[in-house]
């Protein structure tokens, strides 16, 4: 499995779980489906970005940092659109980005270099 696919799958899965955790917040429970969908999409984008980064740069710390950055930016955009819940959205979104950044560095095959 290549790094981008790993990032995509893991990002989507963690994003969905992260979105699902909104169920514990009664105020937004009614919007749970939309939250899960949005969070999955966010994780998916972060995962693809981390996967592409991992194909170019082979460094676990940099991968984690990149995941953190992408997760932070995406979560910030979502929270900004929501006009609130900054901590609740940005913190988990950033950590999910870090996990995906780490996983794409640790697992998945690098693309094969073409023989001349």
């Amino acid at each position: 499995m290549n790094k981008v696919l790993i990032g995509l799958l893991l990002g989507a899965l963690l994003g969905a779980i992260d979105g699902g955790s909104a169920w514990f917040t009664p105020a937004v429970r009614g919007m749970i489906v939309g939250i899960i969908f949005g969070s999955t999409l966010k994780g998916l984008i972060a995962g693809i970005a981390a996967g592409i980064f991992a194909r170019k740069v082979n460094s676990v710390p940099l991968g984690i940092l990149f995941g953190l950055g992408v997760g932070f930016v995406l979560a910030f955009l979502v929270a900004w659109k929501q006009h609130g819940y900054y901590f609740e959205i940005i913190l988990p979104g950033s950590i999910v980005g870090m996990i995906v950044g780490w996983a794409t560095q640790r697992y998945g095959a690098q693309p094969q270099t073409r023989q001349a």
Partner: protein
């Protein structure tokens, strides 16, 4: 008792210096003196490069030893591997002595090199490269029979070379002469400076057949017919013990249990208790390096958990951070 003067000694020493006239080589300096022969640094005048020239000692250049030296060169010529020192040439000197030249390895002997390396994984990776060379030789049907730190060189660029194949045996080659009774020689015939090389076992021919502490029990007993790949595996086990110990085998107590189990299995008294081949031994060491379970040791649940944690430390910490953060967010923001 009669003593010789320094001048007389110099004259005697001088007599054994090989005369390389008529060859393409120019003698430089003495590099090492072993049980069978002497190694000099020489200059290849044709190719303008430095080579190591191995030649029999003048005093002991019997036909049998000559045959052994040629055999060693031929064995080495068969073993083309980055971990085995390559032979360049074989020839005869004007005095009739046979010599062969090989790559001149500039670097340190394993025991000296290890003084600079403190990281266990680095030491183990180095050991795996020795295993590669020995496994290659075994695949070609050649046993080394004298694996020890003094016979491994680490080059200036980190290349690992298994040296001194003078005792090598070609499997399925019967040599009844080798089954003669074994006797012990004093340490001065062995490689100097190696603390663990106290004395050297020799056959009736006077040719080194192993080093106590590194040779297998069947080798020490002189049971030539029992010597197999597993005898080299015993030596590799002793070498692994040496490589992983800080300075001496006494510090082995601090080694992780799986590593001790690998040494124990490789150095089992009975050959059938050892690893079946070098690749199996190397695989166990590699698995240990990768934080995976090894065949030589069955771990308990706590050791399994510890190994799992070591292997997935970053993932566990990240997931824990996520869960802790989730809990804190839910607890403090939505009470």
């Amino acid at each position: 008792m009669k003593f010789l003067s320094d001048r007389a000694l110099d004259r005697l020493r001088g007599s054994s210096v090989p005369d390389l006239s008529g060859t393409r080589y120019e003698l430089r300096e003495l590099v090492a003196r072993g049980g069978m022969g002497v190694v000099y640094a020489a200059e290849d005048a044709k190719l303008n490069r430095r080579v190591a020239l191995k030649i029999l000692d003048a005093a002991g250049a019997s036909e049998e030893l000559t045959a052994r030296l040629i055999r060693e060169a031929r064995i080495l010529a068969q073993l083309e591997h980055p971990g085995i020192v390559p032979v360049h040439d074989v020839g005869t000197l004007p005095d009739g002595r046979v010599f062969y030249t090989m790559k001149f390895v500039e670097g340190l002997r394993l025991d000296k090199y290890l003084e600079q390396i403190t990281s266990l994984p680095q030491r183990l990776r180095l050991f795996l490269r020795i295993c590669d060379a020995v496994a290659f030789a075994h695949a070609r049907g050649v046993l080394h029979r004298d694996l020890k730190p003094a016979n491994v060189m680490v080059g200036s660029f980190g290349e690992v070379l298994v040296m001194d194949w003078g005792l090598a045996k070609i499997l399925q080659e019967s040599n009844p002469a080798e089954s003669q009774e074994t006797v012990f020689l004093p340490s001065n015939s062995a490689s100097p400076g190696n603390k663990s090389t106290k004395s050297t076992v020799v056959t009736g021919h006077g040719t080194v057949l192993g080093t106590p502490g590194y040779m297998s029990p069947e080798q020490a007993r002189g049971q030539v017919e029992s010597i197999s790949e597993r005898s080299d595996i015993f030596s590799l086990g002793a070498l692994l013990k040496f490589v992983t110990a800080d300075d001496s085998p006494e510090k082995n107590q601090a080694l992780p249990r799986p590593l001790r189990a690998i040494c124990g299995k490789a150095m089992a008294e009975r050959p059938d208790g050892r690893y079946a081949n070098v690749n199996d031994l190397a695989a166990d060491v590699s698995r240990f390096l990768d934080g995976l379970p090894i065949s030589a040791y069955s771990e308990n649940i706590f050791e399994k958990l510890g190994r799992f944690y070591q292997r997935h430390q970053v993932a566990i910490l990240l997931i824990t951070a996520y869960l802790v953060m989730r809990f804190l967010v839910l607890y403090f923001f939505h009470r």
